[in-house]
């Protein structure tokens, strides 16, 4: 830090050493005007320290501009390879929209069967108890699971980063369900309409894979909940217009 260089009689030139140096710095970058230059010259006439500083500042500027001019790597091919083409981007958007629709349908199905189960609850005699759960409770469980999957699809369409984690569990569920549905259909234990409702799950699964594939790879591993909004930037614009987080970068000491 250079500190204050106050020289007696300085005020008559309307410029102290700090302001003179700031003006000289701006002049080195072509960002000063003639009126300011006149005041700088007036100050320099009486201030040897600032005359020396100007020489040093010129040297330092030249060294900084040339001394660090190392060439960077050529990234064109890498960047273009990683960038999704417009087609892939369109597919990604379409898949997300589809996933959101499927999520809504699935959630409604889950909700419907949940309500249906509650209404039938009184009518149904809980005569069959399997592994500690009566029919009513087993129906509740299945309805809750279906509702949860709908919510998971909707959330996955919104926050695609977390979708990948859902897919293995969902894939296993669909595989087991497919086998059991086939057996139950043959044995006449289930109505075909009920099995058809499972197709929604399969569609959601396929769309989920499409969304995950279309999503741009981003650097760090996902940190659930922590990446965007914990920083107060809001989830909407992590990049884009430059303004919103500028205030945090300013320091009072640097704002003249």
């Amino acid at each position: 830090m250079t500190g204050n260089h106050t020289i007696p009689g300085d005020d008559q030139h309307g410029m102290d050493c700090d302001r003179c140096r700031e003006a000289m710095s701006a002049a080195l970058d072509g960002e000063s005007d003639a009126a300011e230059q006149a005041r700088v010259d007036a100050h320099l006439d009486g201030c040897a320290a600032c005359r020396a500083w100007r020489r040093d500042a010129e040297t330092v500027t030249r060294r900084a501009r040339t001394g660090v001019a190392e060439p960077g790597p050529d990234l064109v091919a890498l960047v273009l390879d990683a960038a999704p083409g417009p087609r892939a981007r369109w597919r990604g958007t379409a898949a997300r929209a589809g996933l959101a629709v499927v999520g809504a349908v699935q959630a409604v199905l889950g909700l419907t069967s949940l309500l249906g189960a509650s209404m039938q609850h009184d009518a149904m005699a809980d005569s069959i108890v399997v592994l500690g759960a009566g029919m009513a409770h087993a129906t509740h469980e299945s309805a809750a699971w279906n509702l949860a999957l709908g919510v998971a699809f909707l959330a996955g369409a919104l926050w695609t980063r977390h979708l990948a984690g859902l897919l293995p569990a969902l894939g296993a569920f669909i595989a087991v369900l497919a086998v059991l549905s086939g057996i139950d259909l043959l044995a006449g234990r289930v109505e075909p309409a009920r099995v058809v409702s499972h197709v929604v799950l399969v569609v959601g699964f396929v769309l989920g894979i499409a969304v995950v594939r279309a999503a741009p790879r981003s650097g760090p591993a996902p940190t659930p909940g922590g990446r965007w909004w914990a920083r107060g930037e809001g989830p909407v614009a992590p990049h884009g217009a430059p303004a919103p987080d500028a205030a945090r970068w300013e320091r009072e000491s640097d704002v003249a």
Partner: protein, 186 residues
Amino acid sequence: MDDARITELALRARDGHRDAAGEFVAATQQQVWRLLVHLADAAVAEELAQETYERALGSLRRYRGEAPARNWLLSIARRVAADHLRRRARRPVSPAEPAEDDRPVGRAPRPDPAESVAVRDALDALDGDRREAFVLTQVVGLSYEEAAAVCGCPIGTIRSRVARARADLVDALSEPPAAERPPRSG
């Protein structure tokens, strides 16, 4: 290449022209690279530059061309660097980070190693805001107005930060040259 041309390339890239995207990268990558070298460090600059372009191309859809594309891109690069530093601060003992002394060894060839190391060290020692203003205007070559747009601060702030950075560098680099450092044996 001038700003109007770069902005035009960005808009064409947004509309799906891959060759324009390539030209856009080619025209801006040196500045992005330099900014990231100084705001983060050379060891991760390439990775961060890729992340910058990934974010930029990913959000091109929302780019309307109001601000010059180069400023828009550099402000993304600046945010990528800030995110990187924040991540690194959160994991202070990450074994993957090379020690400070290992950094320059074996990296890209430099015109004059001793000189550029001295300048780099002096720049690295600057206060973050001052370094940012200085690098944007001197190394990347932006005007004060452009640097202010990239940082989202008033021009006067850039002006005073650049001057303070210069003063700090005068103090650091006008010392007797660092040649008397004991040569490393080993």
